[in-house]
Amino acid sequence: MNKSSSSDMTPFWTAVWSIVWKDLQIEKHTRQTLSVMIMFSLVTVVMFNFALEARLDAARNVATGLLWATILLAGTLGLNRGMALERENQTIDAILIAPISRSAIFLGKVIGITIFSLMLEAVLVVVFIIFFNKPLWRPPVLIVLVLGTIGYVAAGVLVTSMTIQTRTREVLLPVLLLPLSLPLVLAAATAVASYMFPQLPTWGEVQSPILLVIIYDILMLTAGFLTYHYVVES
């Protein structure tokens, strides 16, 4: 490391992909994170249904909001699990010693947890289509879901890496992360909601919320990229 850093460092994308690959391999063998996330969100959906049962129409109208709320809540589980594993197995120390840039760790983690969240969303979309009879299969809806998830996970990885090192740990994460990601969810839910009518909206109608989601993604990814090495340094 004394010499110029770039030549000694593992190439950026190689590092990113090996972290993603590692997380996917762990998940393939343990199947802990994803199964917990899916079970939790199914319970949440049933619980919401129970709360709104008296009026199914009401439940249908708030379906997009419910979808995002479920994703957020299940997401905190996935994030906590994803980062806690690194600590429990002390792999985080190994990763920090390895000659890879901190931004690569950040991006690797974001991609890994985004993949888990997208798998969860695939299940959730089917469940919501069945339960609430909403056209969530429309391609623009799926794109907004992907975009929203990226921003949420980017904020999540940054915050979880901090909360995991504090005294209160898991308890602190939702308190910090949920308000931080709500501006994104507000825009994303608005965008998804406008696709819930039989008639497709024009681009002009959905352009602004989708733009906001993309701006949030860029801002959070940049913030994480630039500050992540201050978070994992011990």
Partner: protein, 250 residues
Amino acid sequence: MELTRLNRTVRNLNWAAFIALIIALGFVFFFAPVERTMGNVQRIFYFHVGSAWVGAVAFFVALLGGVFYLRQPDRKWDTVSLASVEIGLVFLSMAIAAGSIWGRPAWNTWWTWTPRLTLVTIAWLTYAAYFMLRGAIEDEERRGRFAAVYTIAAFVTIIMSYLSVRILRDIHPTVFGGTLESAQGAAEGLQDFAPGLESARMGITLTVCVIAFSLLYAAWLANRIRLQQMMEEANRLKMRVATRLQGGHE
């Protein structure tokens, strides 16, 4: 023990803020004209915009404090950041309270979940959580570092709320840089109760208020930083006494 006395900068700022606020009140009540559709209730608008403006400035200062702290881990930047978030939260609460009082006659409700009001609530929660994060970390250096990173991430909510209200449709009037949206809103009849700046006198009053609130912010910031330094000084002295007592009398 210089700290126990108010130093000159702090004292001058205190007086400047005090006088500026009195002048601002004079402008609001005696100089600004009575608004056409809303009458006297509209006068709270100057207070509301002033505190909302300073809230945003305070959070930006907190962000700068965070960035400087990360570049050069000096305790003073952490103190600036902490003080600024605290004061920003107070100003944001004042803006929300004033807006709510204005909303009662204007929208016939204290509160409505439009994008802007929702986003302000979110920003408030985000910055309130800042103290939770600080409280959960014992190590001083790490607390400063994490708090700095958090002020940077949290400012995204401020940017988002600024952009959202200019992009999404809302009942709330836009004062700064929102000509396009207010024209759109007016066309759709959303801006019926927009206070708007009907005359130059309103513009002048608003400017005076913003300046007065900015001075108040500066004064509070100076006082809060001084308080923090005194707290740290007191802790140091306590530690010294404790070690002295443990070591036995001499």
